[in-house]
Symmetry: C2
Subunit: 381 residues, 2 copies
């Protein structure tokens, strides 16, 4: 289990790196994860015994497609849809790598959230939705990276027409230890071979042509309230993202429904995206005014609703519905409570074999600050 | 010149306090000023030899009038207009306190900006606009606190119907060393006696009644695009401010005209003010929607204009016009350059005896970041 971690991570001061790892457990087995990027090692990197599961890299964004795309790529660019859910990596850590103390409980493929925690709920969902075993038999050193989307999920719930509860859509296959991605064409081919649902591709173009094809894709996605696109060079290394006005507004509406928890950190970046998009699209004064009005509505209206809800004494927070195996949902709620989240269960019922839990992650900053100000509390400036 | 500063400021660790003072000069004389509050000593406190000019205290704000006003005050409350300009304190520091090396150049009353700098331009303006000498002969230990307003000022330019260029409106008389205010009635009486223009009073009420009278005053001020009110208890100690939707939007429009210089620090606080105001006024859905739209317009429209201006290669920044004695305007521009501001003079002409300078304080963050993103630069997230 003892490896030369300096060489694995390419980091000189391994002791300092390891100080920033936190400890988690999965079914009694202990692992470590890195909740924030350090020493060039990605946020979400996990260590399970001798196995490493690298964090998913952050993808840079451009604010204008022209010349953003041409500046970034010098060869063919594949344009794929970026979905609005939560980022999941699935890796098949073997007991001989990690902890083989209980031979009756083999580990099996595990799902990691963006921060590097193993999520038992997500693990169950991806195992149900994907036939992972044949893939990992052939490719034990890869991890399957995808977005867990749909209205019934415990992290980022968002409606998609074709998703009733939750769905897993693959957007990457990477070496789990180095994080190196497969080339795009090979990745899409492998996903097709193993029957994985993958994100939609809008095709491959040279960078100059991609400017227009991305603009068209964004128009279509925006109209349907979808998030945006990720561009990738042929080798899969270079990436770039660009998003729709619809998701900027949707992000703001979510953030300002809980203004003192999320508003401040969201608002400026979304305004910036909107302002460059308005300029690049060469909008008329009337079009920009309409964009501005919708921006304002997405900020203020949910915030006003929340102040009123606090005034009525209602619970405010992120509302989620999850369904599945009763024990797995217990584990999910226990996991949230371990993380210090204040979870309030609104409803808990059976539908056939499944348990359905509706819960709220209480937003304490929004509740407390809103109540303080409604009580006539002062703002020191 | 050597005083017991610990006793003057009521601070144990005077050495640490003094480390945070910066040095400035006025006509060759050196002084110190405190650009940020420390050890309970107000931002803007200045020391000139043995003389102390205390900083103007920050005034707390409430987000709802009811019960905000009643929570804060337990006796009569005077409601006065809060003007949108820059905060100035005027004190008559005597040469024997500071520096009497040049008897041919007596100091005379000096104007201090909020951060504690002596501003020669402002000093000239207040000396011209107010007959200060009779006041300081009778009250040498007081300072005159007021707002310098009007379209032609070098800090916060804002139009007022009755102000053609600049005007000084007194809102406080305080002990210059302790910062203690005079009672409101005595202050307004003294200002009248010495002929100082003062801020408008909306009258004095008990706290319960003030809730309604402030709401009415705010309606009227909002309609005229004016800033808001400051409430004060009879002794002048306790203060509270409350502002109009018009000024929230105006602040946002100014901030987002230079988004990367000011947008981030302004946006959240103004949204918060708007959301509580909408709730307290018990607005209909249509009224809140209209408020939200105007909020969005005040954020996005100026920002889009600025991105276009940078794209055209224009200078972007805070635009000001000042008029006055040519040597004083030279001193003002030199003072800005000493402070590290990048000042671009757009026009410089004579009108009769006066010199009129139009200049821009270049906003380098907005210029550089906007150009970077327009060139396809990436945003790392």
């Amino acid at each position: 289990m003892c490896r030369n971690w300096g060489a694995v991570f390419g980091v000189a001061d391994v002791a300092d790196l390891f100080e920033h790892f936190e400890r988690g457990t999965y079914r009694g087995r202990e692992y470590r994860y890195l909740p924030d990027a350090r020493h060039g090692v990605e946020r979400g990197t996990a260590i399970l015994g001798s196995a490493v599961v690298r964090g998913f890299p952050s993808i840079p964004r451009v604010l204008v497609l022209d010349p953003g795309i041409v500046e970034c790529f010098d060869g063919p660019v594949t344009v794929e849809e970026k979905l609005n859910g939560y980022n999941v990596r699935v890796a098949d850590v073997r007991p001989d790598e990690w902890d083989d103390s209980d031979p009756d409980d083999p580990v099996g493929p595990l799902a990691f959230t963006r921060s590097g925690r193993v999520c038992r709920y997500t693990t169950e969902v991806v195992r149900e939705q994907c036939d992972l075993d044949p893939f990992f038999v052939d490719h034990p050193d890869l991890m399957v990276c995808g977005e867990l989307v749909g209205p019934e999920n415990p992290y980022t719930a968002h409606d998609y027409d074709d998703v009733e509860s939750v769905a897993f859509r693959v957007f990457d296959l990477r070496d789990r230890e180095t994080g190196d991605p497969l080339p795009v064409e090979r990745r899409r081919g492998l996903c097709a071979d193993y029957g994985f649902d993958q994100v939609r591709s809008f095709g491959t173009d040279d960078p100059e042509t991609a400017v227009d094809s991305v603009a068209e894709a964004i128009d279509e996605l925006d109209e349907h309230g979808r998030e945006g696109v990720v561009l990738a060079g042929a080798d899969g290394e270079r990436r770039l993202k660009y998003t729709t006005s619809a998701i900027h507004r949707s992000d703001l509406a979510h953030a300002f429904a809980l203004p003192f928890d999320y508003g401040r950190q969201f608002v400026f970046s979304r305004v910036i995206r909107e302002m460059f998009q308005a300029v690049e699209r060469d909008e008329s004064a009337a079009e920009t005014r309409e964009r501005a009005r919708r921006l304002g509505e997405s900020i203020l209206l949910p915030a006003v609703e929340t102040v009123r809800a606090v005034d009525r004494g209602e619970v405010v927070g992120e509302e989620h519905t999850v369904r599945g195996d009763p024990a797995v949902l217990d584990a999910l709620l226990a996991q949230f409570r371990d993380q210090g989240l204040d979870v309030h269960v609104r409803a808990d019922r059976r539908e056939g074999d499944e348990r359905v839990v509706e819960f709220v992650k209480r937003a304490s900053a929004t509740r407390d600050k809103t109540a303080h100000y409604l009580d006539g509390g002062i703002v020191d400036e």
